[in-house]
Symmetry: C2
Subunit: 134 residues, 2 copies
Amino acid sequence: MATLEELCVQAGLKMTGQRKTILKVLGEAEDHPSVESVYERSRAVDPSISMATVYRTLNILAELGLVTRHEFHENFSRFELNMEHHHHLIDVESGSVIEFQNEEIELMKQQIARDLGYELVECRLELYGKKIKN
Amino acid sequence: MATLEELCVQAGLKMTGQRKTILKVLGEAEDHPSVESVYERSRAVDPSISMATVYRTLNILAELGLVTRHEFHENFSRFELNMEHHHHLIDVESGSVIEFQNEEIELMKQQIARDLGYELVECRLELYGKKIKN
DNA sequence: GTAGCTGCAAACTCTTTGCAACTCT
DNA sequence: AGAGTTGCAAAGAGTTTGCAGCTAC
């Protein structure tokens, strides 16, 4: 199982200090950080990193499919490492994000796409909900 | 069954010429127009309409829940009238959008949210696919 | 050595907003 | 009449990019 860094090198990227830092930040993130967050966390490690580099790196990673870009109806993007496939439930009151998986839905997605004459390439499912109080 | 205009009036909006035009454009749209598109189509009817008004109107309509804002991973928003609930399959090659409905998925969404302790408020499901050639 | 990467600042794109004039009701 | 709406132009926010210097390989 290749590490993130190895995957990047395989893709022909140079392993600069900045990239290592950003990859580390992404690897340690337990949330879905905005570019701003990735920038701040990276800066805490290496204060010389610029916003431009963070943007450039995230775009490259997204293109390589190592990272997923989300738009949870905010006016900016959030990113997360592309680990196992899952979906999101966004708490409309707090903005917090819960991940979930569901095998049945995976199968149905495939089926729906096929029925429409398409091969499923990607998919987003976002539930927006209010916490039920007891 | 109230018309769009009636719903707006009920919500306390004044029925100006510009708004009538924009509502007409939205009502006639068979696609998921960008703000730019709504602007152009509205201008064809009434050339005095400004971009600012289109933005303002779409935002109000979205707030009233009469219109849905989409972000299909472009760098701008698309809108569509909030008619019956459905989801989208986006052709990754042509960018064209196909609508679909699926009762089973509706039920599962509800179930998943409830299992996580949430009341489902809204939901987005987007499939991205490649057309299967025969 | 050199292709690729970086920081900086300027540029871009989409969207929002302050304001004075105007218009539905 | 008056609150709400509009067009305009300027401002905002997030993101991208040109360039000269730097760095991994």
